[in-house]
Assembly symmetry: C2
Homo-oligomer: 382 residues x 2
Amino acid sequence: MATEELENRGEKRSSRKTGSRPRKSEGELASPVAGSDLSDQLSERQRVILRIIIQEFVTTATPVSSEGLVNKYRLPYSSATVRNEMADLERQGYITHPHTSAGRVPSDLGYRYYVQNLMQRQGGLSTVEQHTIQHQFYQIHLELNEWLRLAASVTARTAHNAALVSAPRAYDSRLKHVQLIGVQERWALLVIVTQDGTIKEQMLALDEPQTQDDLTTVSNRLNSLLTNLNWKQIETRLRDWPEDPNKVVAGRMMESLKALDRAQDAQVYRDGLVNILNQPEFSDIERVRQVVQVIENGQSITNIFPEVLSNDGKAVQVIIGGDNRFEDLRMLSVVLGRYGIDGQVAGVVGIVGPTRMEYGRSISTVQYISQLLSGLITERHG
Amino acid sequence: MATEELENRGEKRSSRKTGSRPRKSEGELASPVAGSDLSDQLSERQRVILRIIIQEFVTTATPVSSEGLVNKYRLPYSSATVRNEMADLERQGYITHPHTSAGRVPSDLGYRYYVQNLMQRQGGLSTVEQHTIQHQFYQIHLELNEWLRLAASVTARTAHNAALVSAPRAYDSRLKHVQLIGVQERWALLVIVTQDGTIKEQMLALDEPQTQDDLTTVSNRLNSLLTNLNWKQIETRLRDWPEDPNKVVAGRMMESLKALDRAQDAQVYRDGLVNILNQPEFSDIERVRQVVQVIENGQSITNIFPEVLSNDGKAVQVIIGGDNRFEDLRMLSVVLGRYGIDGQVAGVVGIVGPTRMEYGRSISTVQYISQLLSGLITERHG
DNA sequence: TTTAGCACTCAAGATTAGAGAGTGCTAAGT
DNA sequence: ACTTAGCACTCTCTAATCTTGAGTGCTAAA
């Protein structure tokens, strides 16, 4: 239950008594008298305090103090009261203490609670921003990879963090067109276009020299035989491919189709790494190295993609501090959203940043961009 | 004259009297008595000392001391002598002093001299390494972008630095094949394959619904009319394109062809950013930020590409500390090499790292990888 | 021309002191 | 029972001071 999945944010707010009770986690030490934690539920005031602690910390990046809060937010109770509440919140694991005389800092659990229950619709994109973004997309002439590159760049800029965008992938890809193009006497380029507009190229070694006309003939035959079939169907058809000399082509084609699935995985557009290096938590080189590692090779994050894609109905998924599942994401949070056309194609838009992140804005950004991409793709192939 | 261009390294060693005389540059302060620099030429001993200072500094990353050198390299003269020579080298701008009681550090000028004159063939790749690398390429099934991705990754790993590889670009690109593929009633995908194997996709809005057969007919006509022509020729032909309804297609096609040139620019594969973050000079966050900036958006470096591509005969180009031309490359060095087929296609392989870099190894790596890529590409289309 | 010797410089690390921020707790007030 | 004023206590952060040692530059002798 570590992963937040939001459908309609800020509404459900889990009724007082039934809400799943957050447990202490992390290495935080609760009060010495462990048995003394009676309150397992947050009072309204505690929720208010937790919320502003988080908002404050997210913007200032400095531990927040009781008195600071009272002054800045003109709270109707004293700093001592706030201190008491803070102590309680800490006992329950929502916030921590860097050291005795420091203010409070949200824990991962705190952020999770915030994202699930506390975050009102804030950090949303203004209509001006939305228009600006939209405009950029419509300036590009309907080029899938340009869109994706732009999406990564815009997402990063808008959310002030690093962004990842995966190319859309068909659930059940069907062949749209095959073309063999001779590039040299004994080499041909096999170009495969799938229903979702993905293009895959593959070089083929030919057993014997063939003219472009020969190749075109083969292409045509392949097309009439295989168009609109999915991989499975193509595989069966190709098995029974009559002419022996072309068996090679058929085999290679199958290879390509499979490779296409794999390659698609790897196709991820990244941008905005610099943004997260500007965050004060990355004044430590060791962390920078880790982050760059994580984002550059990107394994740990792309591993989550299938999960996001199969997450029916859940628009956005937030993974905070790696959710105890991903070691290398420990100090990072990831906001992932799906875009595409239901039942046809789907890709992922993601934001990566420190756990101290503007979750509201990140989520809004992911939502907006994925919605935008979905629109563009729908327009392109209904 | 800031840029080294090497053809046959380690040989020319510029005869004593005629070699172009390096001038003091940078903000380095020479001896207080500015007029007192008599020797404008390095003695053999000074060259030896300069060389080992650089080699030593490159491996240890710590300022090298006179006595340290004498001990470690069993030099046949005392540390005092070395100190004198060092003072002279510093007067001429080849090395510097972080502060009074520190050892010497090579200046950019020093590195340049080293690369031009001092560096013997060292840091070359062992045959084992070469085989390992080659093997990896031949495991990939002739997929251009996979090759390039791999090239970036291997280059980075081999040179222990960040790597860039640009996609090969034809000098005079000729059309190999065009195909219109209907993806929706009023939308078609235009796929363009050029002689060098590059593929470009572009969506087209159709004025009226057309069947795949219609589209194929147009494709065929385009092919028979335009195949093997270059952009210029295509442009003229298209201008006179007879059928009016297809004028749109023709126009869009031209747009695509032009876009292809631009897009090609942007297509750069990067890898190994982490490697350079591991270098001790990047313990300072500010620098890290700059480097990530430079490599992520990559403008400053890709701007140099055309220069490399047009560099006839010069195999490898080394830019040290930005060569006073590129502000954001000040603490970085870049080693760039060209690959491709003479007069047909060409791309760039590059290495980026701190100025304190194993130039020998970087150069060897760039040479080997570009030679390898050239081979692969030649094989693919003669 | 080389080198031993030595004074001089400066970064880096250790130590100390002081200030300030913020907490936790207690006891009084409501 | 909750709230709050008050205060002791803790711990970081900064500045100041000192010490150490590495490494140079220069001088004078070989």
